[in-house]
Each structure stands twice: as structure tokens, then as C-alpha cells.
Amino acid sequence: MDFKIILKKLDPVAECRKYGLGFWQCPNSLFLVMGIIIIVAMILTYFIGIHFVEPEMVIAIVSIVTIVLLTIGHSLVGSFARIAEANRMKSEFVSIVSHQLRTPLSALKWSLDLFRGKRLGAVNDKQKEYLDIINESSSKMIKLVNDLLNVTRIDQGRLVMQIKAFSIEDLIEEILKEMEMFAKGNNVEIRFKNNKKLPDVYADPDKIRMVIQNLIDNAIKYSRKEGGWVDIKVEKNEKMIKVNIKDNGLGIPEFLQKQVFGKFFRGDSLVRQKVEGTGLGLFIAKGFIKLSGGEIDFDSEEGKGSNFWFTLPIAKK
């Protein structure tokens, strides 16, 4: 099996097949060909230079080799453009579909809001139960659409941040109020104390809210069945504020740790049960934090728990 993986890594066209490019259109293989031609041409020129002294001959060979290299180079540039175009089309597709989905989803959500807000008359308990189910499903769809839009924007480098100074401690307190029921329902104790002593951070509060929600949500989702806790600590370094979200949950096995911030990473297999989520949360979190000028990472040990942390720049006074 190992041999196969090595062979796969050596195959220069493997990456290009994803984009439908053949050997003569693939930048990787073209680079290889160029390299071989250059080496062969150098050696050839050297031997010819020794045996025949006519400069015309050398010039002719160098010219021919240059023309061949230019042709390959031309093809190379073309294939780069094709890959870029394929990537752009993919992102554009997601973006258009997502926007188109948002309108019917808003209509669904607002119509539901009318029922749930009892604006169309009283709703009995049984009806309410089902309305809540529809509402939850529509919220999930909206979240998925939003996630996909964010991923596209991160991929295209078109994410817009609305940056300002705000208190990260107050934000965490607010988020925890909203997530209280979810934590209780999962038997997880959340420990956090708002000391109100730290300086403001400088970032986009809506985006950072999504990051924190996602990290706490994960900590709760992958918690142990009993005695689970999530410990949130905020500290100040030299120029940054660091937020630690530590849990005593299932932890992430070492072989999965490299993929955690990748697209569509799911910890499903860890719990051998279905856990809600798109697998885009941490990819988006990383995109947001990096664009805010901070860092995000984690330590984890299987069976003992994880500590996810991120940093954000302190706002100048």
C-alpha cells in the first residue's frame, strides 16, 4: 500500500486529472519535460562544443532548444489559465446557487416566523412542535448556504471584514447566554469569568462571533457523556489577546489532526454517531482569524480533550 502512495505522489499528472487536463496540458508534467530538455540540451551543447568548433552549429542548436522551450512555456501558461478558470467557475457556481437559495429560504423563514410569532392566530402545542422542526431545518439550510458563501469568499480572497474595536470578553459572555440551553442539554458545564479587565480587540465582531460559536459548539458536540466541561480563558500577550477554549471531551486522534482545518473535515468517526454540521466551520474559522491578523491552532489528545486557541490584535487606543 505504501508503495502505491509513493507512486501516486510521483505521478505528476494526478493533480491535473481533477481538472480534466492531460499530460501535455499539465503544468507539473510540462515542468518535468522542460527540465529534462534543458539538461539534455546543456550536455549536448557541451559535447558538440568540444567536437565541432563551428559557432554556427552551436547557435543553431541553442535556437532550436529555445524554440522548443518557448512552445512548452506557452502551453504551460495556457494550462495555468485553464486551471484558474475552472476554479473560478466552481466558486462562481457556488456563489450564484447560494444567492439564489437565500431568497426562497428567507420566504420560508419569514412565513414560519409569522406562525411562530402567533401573528396568524393561536398555535397549539402539537402544531408548535412541528413548526419548530421546520424552523430548525430551515435554519440549518440557511447556515449551510452561509457557510458555502463564506468558503467561496475565503477561496477567492474576497472576504470583506468590517473591523472595529470591541470587548472579546463581553462577546463571549453574550454567546454563552445564547448557548446555555445547548450546553445543559448535553450535560456540559461551561466555565468562564468575565473579568472586564482586558483591552479591546480589533476585528470584525460578527465574524469572530461565528468563530467562537463554532469552537464552543464543537467542544460541546464532542464532549464526554458525563462530567464534561468547557473552560474558556482569555489572556493578554504582548500585542495580542489570546482566547483558549479547552474541553475534556473526546479529543482528536493524531492521524486526523492534520486535516482539522481542511474543508469538509468531520469528526463523525470519533463518536460513531451522527453529529450535525457541514465540516466547514473550522476552515471558515481559520480563514476569518488569518484575515484578522491572528492565529488559530489547537492541541489535542485522544480521550483526554482538546484546547483550541486563537489570537487577535489588540485595538490601539
Binding site: H99, R102, S106, W110, L114, G117, I142, V145, L149
Partner: protein, 122 residues
Amino acid sequence: MKKILFIEDEPSLQKAISEVLTQEGFKVLSAPDGEEGLKSAKAEDPDLILLDLILPKKDGFEVLKELKADEKMKDIPVIVLTNLEGVGDVEKALTLGAKTYLIKANYELEDVLKLVKEHLRK
């Protein structure tokens, strides 16, 4: 009775907002495209405008521009209510004079109502 103009081409969204606002005692005027919206704004002098951005005939940005260029209409507060969220859209709408920019899919109807009330109080 305060008058609110909602410029929106999607009838189902138009209907849901009208329901809530009417129940809360507002008079709701509807316009299905940018041109109608401007006409209605000029004729009815509403207290607040809810504006979608992707609209037939004249898009929301154009409507916003014309509203702000008009002596009579430039002080009517405008809340942008849209699902458009491209690069620069939010900045563009706010620079053109919109008070707030809301993504429809991310806001509950009752939150929209709360915001409308807040802006009318100002």
C-alpha cells in the same frame, strides 16, 4: 399612522413583512421594482423605506442614489433588506446613505420589526 414603503420584487417576502407591520399599526406601501418604488416614495412621502437591492428596472443602488439626490426625499431613512452580499455591496449601500444593511435570510421577521421601530423613533 406611520407609512413604510417596502421596495421588493419577491411577493412572498412582501406579504410577510406587510402582515407584521400592518398588525403593528403601520401603513405599508409596496413597490415591485425600483421605478415604482421611486414614484411611490415621491408621491406618498413615507416615514421609512425598506429597500431590496436586486430589483427589476432600477436596482436598489440606483434607487438609493436618486433618493439621496432629491431634496424632498433625502431625509427618509432607508434600511437595505437584501440577500446580496458581494464584495463592496455593504460599503456601497452605506456610503450611498442607507442607515443599515440586513441580510434577509439571517434576520427573523420580529428582528426586522424591532429595527424598523428603532429607526422610526430616531
